[in-house]
C-alpha cells in the first residue's frame, strides 16, 4: 500500500529538487534565449559555485558569507568567460558553440578535481536551519524547508530583474530578437555579457545553497546538466516561466518515481520529455521559432 508519510516526504523533496532545477534552468534558458548559446558548461558552473562556497565557508566559518562569495565569484567568472571566449563564438555555427562550452565544462571540472581531488566535500547547513522540523507529523530536515524559501526568493529576484527592470526588458526583447535590439541602438554585446553573468550566478547560487544537502564532487554537474536540459525541453527554450514550471514537474517526477523504484526515475523523466516533444514540440510554455 502507499505509504502516505513517505509520499508526502517525497513530494516535498521533489519540491526542493524542482525549485533548484528551476533556478539552474532559468540561468541556462535566459543565456540560450538571449545569446543563442547553449551553455554545456552550465552543470560545471553549478558545481564550481558549490566549491567556491566551500572554500569561503572553510575560510570564514560563515554559511552566509559562503553564499555571498560564491554568488559574486560566479558572476565575475561568467562575465570573464563571456568576454574571453564565448564572445568569439556568436558568429560561429551552433556546433562550435556546443563544442567550446563542452570543452570549457571539462576544463572547469578537471581544474576543480586537480585542486580538490575527487573526494567528496561537505558544507554544513547554517546553525539557524540545522536540525529537524516536524510538519503535520512528517519529519523534515529544517535546512531543506529553508532551501525552498531561499530558492523561491532567488527565483523571485530573478523574476523582478527580468520583468521589472530596464535590463530585464532588454533581455526579454533580446530573447525575441537580439538583432532588432541591437539596431535600436542598445549595445547588445554588453547585455549579453551581463546575461551570461546572471546565468552563471544563478547556477553558482544554486550550487552553494544546495551544498549542505548533498556532498560536493567535481562530477556532480553532469547529472544536473542533463536534468536541466530535460527541464528546458519540457518548459520551452527561452522561457523563464517555462523553466520554473519544467523544473517543478521534473523535480516531482524524479522524487515520486524514486519512492517506487529509483531505477525508473530517469525513465519517467524521459517519458515526460517525450510526451511534451510529441504533443508540444516547443515545450509547454515555449514559442515557435525560439530554438
Amino acid at each position: 500500500m502507499l505509504n502516505w508519510t513517505l509520499f508526502f516526504s517525497q513530494l516535498f523533496n521533489g519540491l526542493v529538487l524542482g525549485a533548484l532545477l528551476a533556478l539552474i534552468s532559468s540561468g541556462l534558458t535566459i543565456i540560450y534565449g538571449t545569446l543563442g548559446v547553449l551553455n554545456l558548461a552550465h552543470g560545471a558552473m553549478f558545481m564550481l559555485g558549490g566549491y567556491a562556497g566551500y572554500v569561503a565557508y572553510h575560510a570564514s566559518g560563515s554559511f552566509m558569507l559562503a553564499v555571498i562569495t560564491a554568488t559574486l565569484f560566479m558572476l565575475v567568472f561568467g562575465v570573464l568567460l563571456e568576454r574571453l571566449i564565448i564572445r568569439h563564438f556568436y558568429d560561429r555555427p551552433d556546433e562550435d558553440q556546443l563544442l567550446v562550452t563542452f570543452g570549457l565544462g571539462i576544463c572547469i571540472v578537471e581544474t576543480v578535481r586537480y585542486f580538490f581531488s575527487s573526494m567528496t566535500k561537505t558544507v554544513s547547513p547554517p546553525s539557524l536551519f540545522s536540525g529537524i522540523t516536524s510538519l503535520g507529523g512528517v519529519m523534515f530536515p529544517t535546512y531543506r524547508l529553508a532551501l525552498i524559501g531561499i530558492v523561491a526568493v532567488a527565483l523571485l529576484a530573478l523574476y523582478l530583474v527580468l520583468y521589472r527592470t530596464r535590463l530585464g526588458l532588454i533581455v526579454r526583447a533580446g530573447i525575441e530578437d537580439s538583432v532588432m535590439v541591437d539596431s535600436l541602438g542598445i549595445n547588445v554585446y554588453r547585455v549579453f555579457m551581463v546575461v551570461f553573468g546572471i546565468g552563471s550566478m544563478a547556477a553558482g547560487f544554486a550550487g552553494i545553497v544546495n551544498a549542505p544537502v548533498v556532498s560536493l564532487t567535481p562530477g556532480m554537474g553532469e547529472t544536473i546538466l542533463v536534468q536541466t536540459f530535460v527541464v528546458v525541453v519540457i518548459g520551452g527554450v527561452g522561457s523563464f516561466p517555462g523553466a520554473v514550471l519544467g523544473g517543478l514537474i521534473a523535480g516531482e517526477i524524479i522524487s515520486i518515481t524514486s519512492m517506487i523504484d529509483p531505477a525508473y526515475s530517469y525513465i519517467m523523466l524521459f517519458a515526460a520529455m517525450t510526451l511534451v516533444l510529441v504533443f508540444r514540440p516547443h515545450g509547454l510554455l515555449g514559442k515557435k521559432g525560439r530554438e
Partner: protein
C-alpha cells in the same frame, strides 16, 4: 588545387593508402613504442567515429548520445557471446550492429523531430537514460555495474589451420580489416548521391527540402548509419577487452567521441581516427611519461578548447589548409610565368560562357501531367492567410494558363511573397484552395510540390554556401532525377543517369558554365542570383515561381537576366514577382497587381500601365487627384 579533389579524383587512392597504412602499422609502430592495445583502441574509436562523422561532419547533426548505440551494440553482442552461448563472434557483432541500428532508427524518429540546440539536448538526455536503463532495469542481462566478462575473441578457420585473433597485435588484423571495410563503405556513402544530399542538409536544410529532397528521411538515414557504426564498434570493444564494460554507455563516451572528432577534423572520415590517436597517445604520454596522473584530462580539455577556438577544422583541416596554401603558391608561380603569353583565362571563360549561352536550347520540363488534363496549370480560389489579426492575403482568386508568363507587382507589403509561399506550400493557407495541374496541392509539403513540378527561386538567396556552383546544381538535379528519397548510398554520384548533362545544361542556361567549380562564397552577387534561379530551374519545374529575381542587380545585370528569363520561359509556365516594372512589362504577357493582400487588377501590360487604380496604388491618391482636374 583543392585538397579534397586531389584525393577524390584519383579512384581508390584513399582506399589504397588506407590499406597500406593499416598493413604497415604493426611493422612500423612498435619502433615508436606504441602499445598494441592502444593501437587497437584507436581503431575501435576510429570506427565508432566514422559513423559519427557522417552524422556530425557531413550532415551537421551534433549528437551527444552516441554512447547509447555504442553500448547497445556492445551489450547485445557480448550478451549473445557470454550468456546465450552463441558461438559465432562475427555474427554476434553483426547482430549487435543491427540492434544498434534499429534502436537508432526508433530514437532518431523522436530526436530528429527537433533541430539544432533541441536535438543536441535530447541526445544528451537519451545517452543518460540508456546508461540508467543498462545499469538498473536491465542489469540481469547486462551485468549492471559489473559488465559482462569473458567475451571471446574471433577465430578464422582456414581448413588446414585455425587462426586465433586473441589480443594485442594478434587481434590487430581483425580490427584493421573491419576498420578498412568500414572506411571503404563510408567513402562510398560520402561519394554517393545520398552523401551529396547530406552535405546539402548541413549547409541549408530549408533549401534541400525546397528543391525536393525528403530531408527528414535522409537525416534519419545518417542517424541510423551512425548508430550502426557505433553498435559495431561497441561490439569490438567487448571483443578487444574480453570484457564489456558498463561505462561504454556513459555520457563521457559520447563526449570523448565528439572531442576526438573535433580534434582530428570533422567531415573527413579519418578525423576521429586521428583524434583518437592524439587523445590516447597524449593520455599515455601525460599519464605515464610526465606522471601527471589524473590531470591529463585537464590538459586535453585545454588543448580541445584551443583547437575549437583556433583550428576550426581540426588537425586534418589544418593539414588541408596548409596543402592548399602550398599548392596555390606553386600554382601562382606557374600562372605568373604564363601570364605574359596573352589573354587571361578569366576573360576567355567569360566569352566562352556567353557564346554557349547564345546557342543553348531551353531545358524542357518533364514532369508527368495527370492524364487528360487540359485546364489552367494553376488555379487558386479564395486563398487567405492571416497571422493573428494581420491579413497577409485575402480571398485571392488567381488562374495561370499553360505556357503563360505572368508578372505580379504590388507595393511593399502587398502580400506577394506570402502568396508565393502558399503556392509552394511553405506556408499553409488559412483558407482557400490551390489546384496545380488539376491536383489539389493545398496542405502538401514544399518537397512534394517540388516533386510535382512547382518550385520557386527565393527573394533572399538560399544557396548551399560552402559548395561549388556545380555541386549546388547537382543537389537540385538529384531531386529531379532520383525523386525525393532513395537509398542509393553505395552507388557513385556519376552513376546517376543524365546527371552530368542535366547540370551542364542548367549551368549553360543560367550562364555560369565558366564559374562551375567556384565556391558560392566567392561569387559576385549577380552570379549568386543567377545560381538561385538555377537551383529552381535544375528541378525542371513545369511551373516556376521567381521571387524578385532582379532585386539588387545593376542595370547591366538586369538586362542580362531579363534575356536569361526570356530564354528559360520557353516551354515553361512562369510567374515572376518583381519591382522592376519595365522589365516585367517587357517579359510578361499578363500582369496581376496585388495591393494590401488582395488582387487589385489583372490585365495585359498596356492595360495595367493605363489603369487608374494601379497608378493610385503606386503613386498615392494625391497625385491622382492632381491629374484629375
Amino acid at each position: 588545387m583543392n585538397f579534397g579533389k586531389f584525393f577524390m579524383q584519383r579512384r581508390y587512392l584513399i582506399e589504397i593508402l588506407t590499406a597500406i597504412c593499416l598493413i604497415a602499422a604493426p611493422f612500423v609502430l612498435p619502433h615508436f613504442n606504441a602499445a598494441p592495445n592502444t593501437v587497437n583502441r584507436i581503431l575501435v574509436w576510429g570506427l565508432f567515429g566514422i559513423g559519427f562523422d557522417i552524422l556530425f561532419g557531413y550532415t551537421g547533426l551534433l549528437s551527444f548520445g552516441q554512447s547509447a548505440f555504442y553500448g547497445t551494440g556492445g551489450f547485445v553482442a557480448a550478451y549473445l557471446l557470454t550468456q546465450a552461448g552463441f558461438p559465432y563472434v562475427v555474427l554476434a557483432l553483426i547482430i549487435g550492429m543491427v540492434a544498434a541500428a534499429i534502436v537508432g532508427y526508433l530514437i532518431g524518429l523522436l530526436a530528429l523531430r527537433s533541430t539544432g540546440i533541441y536535438f543536441a539536448m535530447i541526445t544528451v538526455a537519451i545517452a543518460e537514460i540508456f546508461f540508467f536503463v543498462e545499469f538498473n532495469p536491465l542489469s540481469a542481462w547486462t551485468g549492471g555495474e559489473n559488465g559482462l566478462p569473458g567475451v571471446p575473441s574471433p577465430t578464422l578457420d582456414l581448413g588446414f589451420k585455425i587462426i586465433h585473433f586473441s589480443f594485442g597485435w594478434s587481434l590487430y588484423p581483425f580490427l584493421a580489416f573491419i576498420y578498412f571495410i568500414g572506411i571503404v563503405i563510408a567513402l562510398r556513402i560520402v561519394r554517393s548521391p545520398v552523401g551529396a544530399i547530406l552535405t546539402a542538409i548541413r549547409e541549408n536544410p530549408l533549401r534541400a527540402a525546397a528543391v525536393g529532397h525528403n530531408v527528414q528521411g535522409y537525416k534519419l538515414t545518417a542517424f541510423v548509419v551512425a548508430a550502426a557504426y557505433a553498435g559495431l564498434a561497441g561490439g569490438l570493444l567487448g571483443v578487444m577487452q574480453a570484457f564489456m564494460p558498463p561505462d561504454a554507455f556513459m555520457f563521457d563516451t559520447s563526449g570523448q567521441l565528439v572531442m576526438q572528432t573535433a580534434i582530428g577534423g570533422r567531415a573527413t572520415l579519418f578525423g576521429p581516427l586521428v583524434g583518437a590517436a592524439v587523445w590516447l597517445f597524449l593520455q599515455d604520454f601525460l599519464q605515464s611519461t610526465l606522471g601527471l596522473g589524473a590531470t591529463w584530462k585537464l590538459v586535453l580539455g585545454v588543448v580541445f578548447v584551443l583547437l575549437v577556438v583556433f583550428l576550426r577544422q581540426g588537425i586534418i583541416g589544418g593539414i588541408k589548409d596548409l596543402f592548399e596554401f602550398v599548392m596555390s603558391r606553386v600554382a601562382g608561380q606557374a600562372k605568373l610565368s604564363t601570364a605574359s603569353s596573352g589573354v587571361s583565362t578569366e576573360s576567355q571563360q567569360t566569352t566562352a560562357a556567353t557564346n554557349v549561352h547564345q546557342k543553348s536550347i531551353p531545358m524542357r520540363p518533364h514532369h508527368p501531367v495527370p492524364d487528360n488534363f487540359s485546364g489552367p496549370i494553376l488555379q487558386v480560389t479564395g486563398l487567405t492567410k492571416h497571422y493573428g489579426g494581420v491579413l497577409a492575403n485575402t480571398d485571392i482568386d488567381f488562374t495561370v494558363n499553360q505556357g503563360e508568363l505572368r508578372g505580379i507587382i504590388g507595393p511593399n507589403g502587398a502580400g506577394k511573397s506570402t502568396f508565393f509561399k502558399m503556392l509552394t506550400c511553405e506556408v499553409t493557407p488559412s483558407s482557400g484552395k490551390i489546384l496545380f495541374e488539376g491536383r489539389d496541392i493545398t496542405g502538401m509539403g514544399v518537397t512534394e510540390v517540388c516533386q510535382l513540378g512547382l518550385t520557386k527561386s527565393y527573394q533572399v538567396n538560399q544557396l548551399f554556401n560552402s559548395l561549388t556552383v556545380r555541386q549546388n546544381l547537382i543537389i537540385s538535379a538529384l531531386a529531379e532525377l532520383r525523386g525525393k528519397f532513395r537509398l542509393d548510398m553505395l552507388s557513385s554520384l556519376s552513376n546517376v543517369p543524365g546527371l552530368d548533362e542535366h547540370v551542364e545544361h542548367t549551368l549553360e542556361l543560367v550562364n555560369l558554365t565558366g564559374r562551375a567549380d567556384t565556391a558560392v562564397s566567392e561569387l559576385a552577387y549577380g552570379e549568386k542570383r543567377r545560381l538561385e534561379v538555377g537551383l529552381a530551374l535544375a528541378s525542371s519545374p513545369s511551373l516556376l515561381l521567381l521571387d524578385e529575381p532582379l532585386a539588387g542587380m545593376s542595370p547591366q545585370e538586369r538586362g542580362e537576366t531579363v534575356t536569361l528569363l526570356k530564354s528559360i520561359s520557353q516551354g515553361r509556365t512562369m510567374i515572376i514577382i518583381d519591382h522592376d516594372m519595365d522589365a516585367l512589362f517587357e517579359l510578361a504577357e499578363r500582369i496581376t497587381v496585388l495591393q494590401e493582400g488582395r488582387v487589385l487588377v489583372e490585365g495585359t501590360p498596356d492595360e495595367i500601365k493605363g489603369n487608374a487604380k494601379v497608378q493610385e496604388a503606386y503613386l498615392g491618391g494625391v497625385v491622382h487627384e492632381e491629374i484629375k482636374p
